[in-house]
């Protein structure tokens, strides 16, 4: 499960993806050409502006697309990015320029940095200004720590106030999960029994051929448990999804692109629009990393996800702000 060689990470890190001599870019190319139907384009530092520019005629047809934006950390003022609002606004401009417009946007949490007044509004207002029909939110720990989620759930919790959610769009079933509430001392991100029960019920009536997209803040798989980059009952949730032919799991939290494929389940973590974090286990601990100013935008970004009916996997296009 936690085999480093199966990971692909973002650019601009000196680390290679494993001890097999295959570097990150080589690995991604392998993935792209492995005949799995997966189209994976990481633009980190290389093809950056191309991915989210208006679609060209050469691009394959798609049934719809959506955007994943993550870890906007509105209110962050650290050395790692003195203008986190500016880079957020740049990401919004990129979304607005997408043609065709995404059907909807998913924000995978850490909407705010410290849950300060106005921070949620900054994000909701900016995302309303895009052409997306809807925006779906899921919280990060920075969105709920101050009040146990009262404000977040009041805004985004839905009719039942739980915050977890599912919806169907053009034959794809989407599930948003919360794994940042009720942290216990010494513990990890968790979904909790009530949510697991809900998830089990939510998917049990679906045909196994239904494509699933699951999104949550903290990775549902064990990226790096020592830094809390794992959901302690994530395996149980994934157990309910194993029978499906196509499952895409989208997470945030770690501010870097990683990918893992396990059976029919593809895992992806996303870039932040605010600041990068170290590769797992590199350095003394997690947290904002300061990179040279001219490199900052190449380690921030967002993700465009395209769905084409009949393809077993969704096409994931990560784009940096460079």
């Amino acid at each position: 499960m936690n085999d480093d060689s199966t990971y692909a990470r973002d650019a601009d890190s000196p680390e290679v993806s494993g001890g097999d001599g295959v570097d990150r870019r080589g690995f991604l190319q392998c993935m792209a050409w492995a005949g799995t139907g997966l189209v994976w384009t990481v633009t980190g530092g290389v093809l950056s502006s191309r991915a989210l520019s208006p679609a060209s005629a050469a691009e394959p047809a798609r049934d719809f697309s959506f955007v994943q934006i993550s870890d906007t950390h509105i209110g962050f003022k650290g050395e790692a990015n003195k203008d986190a609002l500016g880079t957020f606004e740049q990401a919004i401009a990129r979304i607005k320029a997408l043609d065709p417009a995404p059907s909807f946007i998913i924000h995978t949490g850490d909407i705010t940095h410290a849950q300060k007044p106005g921070a949620f509004d900054t994000v909701t207002e900016a995302l309303k200004g895009t052409k997306a029909e809807r925006v779906f939110y899921i919280p990060g720990e920075n969105d709920v720590f101050a009040d146990g989620g009262t404000e977040y759930l009041g805004r985004f919790g839905g009719p039942k106030g739980t915050g977890w959610q599912s919806f169907d769009y053009k034959g794809v079933h989407f599930v948003g999960l919360i794994n940042v509430l009720n942290f216990k001392a010494g513990g990890l991100g968790s979904l909790g029994q009530a949510q697991l029960d809900w998830l089990k019920k939510d998917v049990e009536g679906l045909a196994s051929s239904t494509p699933l997209v699951v999104f949550a803040h903290v990775p549902l798989w064990a990226v790096y448990p020592k830094w809390g980059w794992v959901t302690d009952d994530g395996e149980q949730a994934l157990g309910y999804l194993k029978r499906f032919g196509s499952v895409t799991v989208l997470n945030g939290h770690i501010h870097q692109i990683m990918q893992k494929v396990e059976g029919n389940i593809s895992f992806y973590t996303a870039l932040s629009t605010a600041f990068p974090q170290p590769a797992p286990g590199v350095g003394e601990g997690p947290g904002p990393v300061k990179v040279p100013a001219e490199q900052l935008r190449s380690v921030l970004g967002l993700r465009d996800v395209n769905y084409v009916q009949g393809k077993s996997r969704l096409a994931i296009v990560d784009s940096t702000l460079a």
Partner: protein, 137 residues
């Protein structure tokens, strides 16, 4: 609401400190007044020269998601100050809710006066692997 009275912007405090004792004292009283925390064992209502005590009392720094002194033993009446040196937000929250800081951003600090002997375990509610304890004798 979240114990903001105990949230100190350290850079600001240092700037104040060089202004002189009189100015510092006058400004420091409302800033450092104990938050109205409830429950037994809290510092609520205690008249305490927190500013002075906090500067002379033990300090625990938070760096790279670690408490610099994960176990600290102090006599009753000691004020302990936690100072966040990370760019991440952290909190200092007792596992029994005996004390609870607001979110501490970079260079922000939180102080708590331990009046009763006991073992006080605490953690960061954003990063729960960050744990520590204060043993009060």
């Amino acid at each position: 609401m979240h114990g903001n009275h105990r949230l100190i912007r350290v850079r600001w405090l240092w700037r104040l400190a060089v202004l002189g004792t009189a100015t510092f004292g006058a400004l420091a009283v409302p800033t450092w007044a104990p938050a109205g925390q409830s429950g037994p064992g809290t510092a609520s209502g205690m008249a305490q020269p927190v500013a002075v005590a906090a500067q002379t009392g033990p300090r625990i720094e938070i760096t790279k998601h670690k408490f610099s002194r994960p176990t600290l033993t102090v006599p009753a009446g000691t004020t302990v100050t936690w100072l966040n040196r990370d760019e991440d937000v952290h909190t200092v929250v007792s596992t029994t809710q005996a004390f609870r800081s607001a979110g501490l951003e970079t260079d922000e600090a939180y102080s708590y006066t331990f009046t009763k002997p006991g073992v006080y375990e605490y953690f960061c509610t954003l990063h729960p692997l960050m744990t520590g304890k204060v043993i009060v004798k």
